[in-house]
Symmetry: C2
């Protein structure tokens, strides 16, 4: 079992990673005993794991209800938010209650926002069941929903009290979702850990074969890296936390322009990282310290491709449309883009004054 501490003082919490952990009551006991609980999940995850979690909660000494909504990013909206809040109310939750977010990024974000705003905030336990949620969204306190105008435009910071990760649930995950999680995992390597990037390159066999041992190590390392960033910049104010958005400003724009659903989040981020890498080369072309080379961009691209992730867009998608959609991103401040660009494998920097034509060229560079 891996245990990672997120040192946020009074808002600090543990991430526990272990096979079968969601079926055991021991980890839950201190957090739920004597409190009423509501498990929020989606229609897919609820069907498979809802009963296990409910049983563990019961054994931990709580009365729990479960509520689920239709699986998919399209449920991450204000309508679902309102319905879940009314469910919390009808389940009799009070200020001492606990909301358990069970599922991938969507249940995690929606249930997190509900926990943050129901009666101005109740306890939250994250039980991520997608690889993406395990290594990213369940840690760090970001919660939220989408607007028709763009992704994650609404939400608050609300740290969980506990994160439980059971790598054995990955076996029921569609391959496509595994690949999406791996996009974020590659991201951690590029932005802050070159050794971890090499580890991924060397362990492609284990990654593809879904070796539990390999995934245990990968998830634990990603959670450590994420916890480090979150502790240094809890509310994304110093700029450090922004490095986690590598590939995301492009990625969100791709999702917006192609319509949520065509590309999964991780796929859009994979393409976005390729755009960002090409832009880094573009920006460095006339600089003396031409650090990020085509070779490094290729290393990233080959790893993403080896995993089975897309690294290009098909023709027919307008680079200008994607460029314009990037300004709807929360990272755009006062009408200016703030982009995370690689300096080398294991290090990125935030760039604020990129020329429109360079950005569009970088977008175009991956259209095949």
């Amino acid at each position: 079992m891996h245990k990672i501490k997120v040192n946020l003082k009074e808002r600090g919490y543990d991430i526990l990673i272990g096979k079968g952990i969601i079926t055991r009551s021991s980890a839950l006991k201190d957090h739920v005993s004597g409190r009423s609980c509501l498990v929020m999940t989606d229609s897919n995850v609820g069907r498979i794991y809802g009963a296990y979690v409910m049983k563990a909660l019961k054994n931990a000494g709580t009365t729990a209800h479960v509520v689920s909504f239709k699986a998919g990013e399209s449920s991450k909206n204000i309508d679902t938010f309102g319905k879940m809040l009314r469910h919390a109310c009808r389940a009799g939750l009070d200020r001492s209650s606990v909301i358990v977010a069970l599922g991938g990024g969507v249940p995690g974000d929606v249930a997190g926002f509900v926990a943050a705003s129901y009666m101005r905030g109740v306890k939250l336990i994250q039980i991520p069941t997608s690889l993406l949620a395990m290594v990213d969204s369940s840690v760090g306190g970001k919660t939220g929903i989408d607007l028709p105008e763009g992704k994650n435009l609404v939400g608050v910071f609300w740290q969980p009290s506990l994160v439980l990760i059971d790598p054995s649930v990955l076996k029921t995950l569609p391959k496509r979702e595994i690949r999406c999680g791996l996009a974020e995992i590659v991201k951690y390597g590029v932005i802050m850990d070159d050794k971890f990037f090499s580890f991924l390159e060397k362990n492609l066999y284990g990654i593809k074969k879904m070796e539990p041992n390999t995934y245990g190590k990968i998830i634990a390392r990603c959670c450590e890296l994420k916890a480090k960033v979150v502790c240094a910049d809890e509310r994304e104010t110093t700029g450090l936390r922004a490095i986690l958005n590598y590939g995301h400003t492009f990625g969100h724009a791709i999702e917006t322009v192609t319509g949520y659903g065509k590309f999964a989040h991780g796929e859009a981020v994979s393409i976005g990282m390729c755009m960002a890498a090409n832009l880094a080369i573009q920006c460095n072309k006339f600089a003396l310290d031409n650090k990020f080379s085509q070779e490094l961009a290729n290393r990233q691209k080959y790893l993403l491709q080896a995993i089975g992730l897309p690294t290009s867009l098909c023709t027919g998608i307008s680079p200008v449309k994607i460029y314009k959609a990037m300004f709807k991103d929360k990272k755009a401040e006062k009408g200016k883009l703030r982009l995370v660009l690689p300096v080398r494998i294991g290090k990125v920097s935030i760039v604020k004054d990129v020329k429109a034509e360079d950005v569009m060229e970088a977008i175009e560079s991956v259209v095949s």
Copy 2:
């Protein structure tokens, strides 16, 4: 001009109270210059004061938009919340932008919640225009909306960066709304300042005649008292802040049972304070320290009546229904009521184990 500091460290802010302050740019300048602003207001207040505030913002060096929704408590819902968020998005607001809440409690609460959750939080300036909002909701960081199941069940804590109070706007306020504000003002006297309570008793003439000088003093003192409580218990965790809910658990239940709209909030609180006072007498009947007497309850009742506030419910309203509705209140924890009861004029205590029959008797005691 009165200036009150709310000492919440990095979340601290000033409350500025002065005639004509909403038409001047000087106070706004430091907070809005170079940022885009969106004024959120309701159809009544926007019509009267929207243009003044927009002009002041323009002079303070910002581009501002204004958006309004239908006036009234019925707008304080998830639908309005969603619409306002989309307006913020379409107005091009980014993380550095400022939302200005202009109006009574409803615009303050809704715009506050929008500011707290748009892109996970942007700056908020409160410009309360109702007496109730001036002395209560604009200070302290509570934001939120109602659910069909009950009032203020959804929201977060989000402190404003500035509160501007212009007592001269009270002249356009309907008399009924003035009375509602006065209910909360009487509350401050009962819960924490007997001298202030006496001041109100002695200044009934000035209160009724809408003397600006009297109101300036009253508003400033209430803001001071509220700031004191908020600084001691920002997130309502130590219990101290709960004293501000005196009369409110009863009041909210009255509003729920009679349907939002029949009684205005302040009117329901006025009746709720009478219920709480009667319950205090009831609870003390067999105690040795029979502090809160019928005489004190009458003093409170006479002051409320002199102001023109209701102190009783007409027959036909079921005490049991009101009692049951009290459990939907956020102050009810683990199925138990936490009630704020007066000990004397100027002091209250939190009581957790009141008998159902005593509460119902207190409710009945004001049915005439």
